[in-house]
Symmetry: C2
Subunit: 488 residues, 2 copies
């Protein structure tokens, strides 16, 4: 990956860029590239031969500084990769305001480092301190800062190693997921955030109203901006089904919203969700395969970052999942049997496992962590536990669906075949008390050229949590929102 | 691109996929690929040699059907590319319910076509009609349908060629943009949709409230889900600045919202915006170069689609922009001089151009379409016309910013240097009457290691409009929202 970045990004000098102008290689692309980042400068084996003898410019923030009698060592990072670069300055050449947190532009040359921690370091000839940073009042001190303290400083916490690494991980996951779905010929689509559907029932959704001068006034139909009540989406699925009914294979990575007041480490009021939907599926096995393929591709393209707080066992379980050929599958009915058997002897669960009841978090963890020891697809839940659109199995009791359970994370993905049979869907909607008029467009998809189709959804922050070892999803997104918390 | 798709996506047979199982090539990836789409089947030169003699399976919807005495021609599309595939069936083999709009699975072989319109066609051995479609009541008829009618059938309009092409174009633009920014070492980030900031003033934003049992009740501070009023974001910029102050180069493609009641062909209540922000910029020229580079990269990777409604001149102007080496730049002051000169002789503008006034749409179009005859960056607008965060120039009258004007489209991108000087920013906030406490976090970015930084924003639907010739942005997004309009 580094090499590829290097090959594609040889910089052209920006206009006022004195030091670069005579010595840099040019790439004859149609558009100019930006100056090299620290990651590029340090990770290109070939250019570095010439770079060692060429003057370069490095911009970034001071992450730490050690002043010795004759020499100063400053760790500089621009956020392009975790290690940053060590800058070496003569004491005479070190300005007083070169402090932790200051932003700087350094001019110098890369040289072989005498230290053991890095191969190269920057021998600094000149320093511009672009933005000072008072070391007394700077909220991001060098010592370990509590998670709560960093949440209170959400605007500055990306300056810590772990949060910066999390941001890069998100970007990398995003790219890997897009590559996977592009390879599978899916079209990336944008589904609406504002919807007329109060999908999963009152109380869990946000309402959207125009910011009228008196927002507390009675909101009658006439005052609705869209002529009817509007909500923030909790899932893109129904919209994706409309698109999959036209161009077959679609997916989205989209913000979703739940006005949940529960304060767990797995829920946010605003989160991102990957959702894929496709027509002409051959069955639930196909859905599991696409989901597993997506995660296998993610695992193959993600290197565990040492900046993350890996607790005992999590790293190993990630490695096991990566190496495992095919992930385990069992039906809900089999899973409940196993849970019942184990509970009979151990009485370990708070909630007694029983066919027809939802699996609790403790059950899900036992299944994946203890019984299987890895990711497991639990399929064919009782129809009564699943939403109205889930396709009913021939047995009349279960639905064609799955939850993917992951050690330490719990449910990561949920998917199903969607009911494509007009009669079955209408009957199910009646049973769930849904207004057929409101869902007329959705039923239309079954009326005109209906096709067997399926899909799944994955919480993006939970994926980040799995691949980073960060336990709480609030640390898996840049600016988290939850009940009573929205700082910026 | 086709070849690359082929090389990467040789399919492995899905479980129940009888016809494929013995004849398909396997690629030893770690995850299984999906069955080939029509695009893949028809566009792989090498595999097609063997495919011609191998039985294949094609799924899709009937786009049109011609029944002759002995033979039936049906155009089948799965949405993977505009042309679809022509299927040829014997009359005896054509079921009665094979009608326009039906979804089908066809088994047969690809053969050289005798028709002039396609190189290969599908000789059908067996037909499964998966979902019938009553030709009498199907809303998507073969003849041309009005834009208004299709808006009323938003759930089915992606089945038309133009809307399906628009969806594929969005996906392709999305990918090109990500490639460009990845090449430039930007990190893709997610910024919040729900924000505490009523950014551009009351009346233009949406309020977010929990969907309490009685949403019409007085919403006091206590009843706010986030302990304070919440809005839908109108721009990610301020949040991006926080991230660029930590990891240097960031961008997002994110939904934005404006509760605008104006009914123009350039505005939506919910739209997508590309926004990039980076630290250590060398000046406004740098910002123009990144914006131009992004669009040049898009132009180089987009093939104009004949399914779109290209009006006279638009296609040519796109081609001109693609070939042009560097796009024109002029200051606002120069632009106003040109406008004044032209207006003095022609009196053609409704609004008189004058230094200090905003450029009207008619001015912008004249500058790009008539004066320059191509894209033009207009830079250094009067400070009074720009938001509080725009960096003031040394002249004290103008700000370091630009609007990129495009023929037929108008303003496509707006960008600026951001005021990184603490004193200047605080003074500007006072002048704009902003509450310093509310923006404390934003000011902090200037207090601790401030760096010269810049960014720009581009409306994604306007980009789609430019590259598709589709005049109205309502047809540039799958499920548009505007005042009084939200169908599904």
């Amino acid at each position: 990956m580094f090499l590829r970045g290097c090959l594609r990004s040889l910089p052209r000098a920006p206009p006022n860029h004195r030091l670069f102008s005579s010595s840099q290689a040019y790439l004859s692309t149609k558009y100019p590239s930006r100056p090299q980042t620290i990651r590029q400068l340090l990770s290109c084996p070939e250019p570095s031969v010439s770079v060692q003898s060429s003057p370069i410019e490095v911009s970034g923030w001071v992450k730490s500084i050690r002043r010795q009698k004759n020499v100063t060592f400053a760790l500089i990072n621009d956020g392009s990769w975790a290690p940053g670069v060590q800058a070496v300055l003569s004491a005479a050449n070190t300005p007083k305001n070169l402090t932790n947190g200051a932003s700087v532009r350094l001019h110098g040359r890369l040289v072989k480092s005498l230290g053991a921690e890095q191969a190269q370091e920057l021998q600094v000839a000149a320093v511009d301190v672009l933005g000072e940073c008072d070391p007394e009042t700077y909220p991001i001190q060098k010592q370990a800062l509590s998670i709560e303290y960093l949440r209170d400083n959400a605007h500055l916490r990306p300056r810590t190693d772990a949060v910066a690494s999390m941001l890069r991980l998100r970007s990398q996951l995003h790219r890997t997921i897009h590559n996977y779905f592009e390879d599978q010929e899916f079209t990336y689509v944008h589904t609406p955030v504002i919807t007329p559907s109060d999908c999963e029932g009152a109380g869990e959704t946000f309402r959207v109203i125009p910011n009228s001068p008196s927002p507390s006034e009675n909101n009658t139909q006439e005052e609705e901006f869209f002529s009817k009540p509007a909500y923030l989406t909790v899932s893109s699925q129904l919209h994706l089904e409309a698109l999959a009914s036209s161009i077959s294979r679609v997916y989205t990575l989209s913000p979703c919203f739940r006005a949940e007041r529960s304060q767990t480490n797995r829920h946010l009021a605003e989160f991102w969700m990957l959702e894929a939907e496709w027509a002409f599926t051959h069955g639930i096995d196909d859905v599991c395969r696409v989901a597993e393929g997506c995660l296998k591709s993610v695992l193959a393209n993600t290197t565990p970052d040492p900046a993350f707080p890996w607790s005992e066992g999590r790293l190993q379980s990630l490695e096991d999942a990566r190496r495992s050929d095919t992930w385990a599958r069992m039906t809900y009915t089999e899973a409940v049997k196993e849970l019942e058997r184990y509970h009979a002897s151990s009485k370990i669960f708070e909630f007694e496992p029983k066919w027809g009841r939802a699996l609790q978090s403790e059950h899900e963890r036992w299944l994946s962590e203890s019984l299987v020891g890895g990711p497991v697809f639990v399929t064919d839940y009782p129809t009564s536990l699943k939403p109205f659109y889930t396709r009913q199995n021939e047995d009349g009791r279960t639905a064609a669906c799955f939850d993917l359970l992951i050690p330490h994370v719990g449910e990561l993905i949920g998917g199903s075949l969607r009911e494509e049979r007009l009669g079955h869907l209408v009957a199910s909607m009646k049973k769930h008390g849904l207004d057929e008029e409101e869902y007329k467009w959705y039923v239309d998809l079954r009326r005109f050229g209906s096709a067997p189709h399926a899909g799944f959804g994955m919480g993006f922050e939970r994926l980040v949590s799995w691949l980073s070892g960060i336990e709480n999803v609030r640390e898996c997104i840049a600016m988290p929102r939850w009940a009573n918390r929205m700082l910026l």
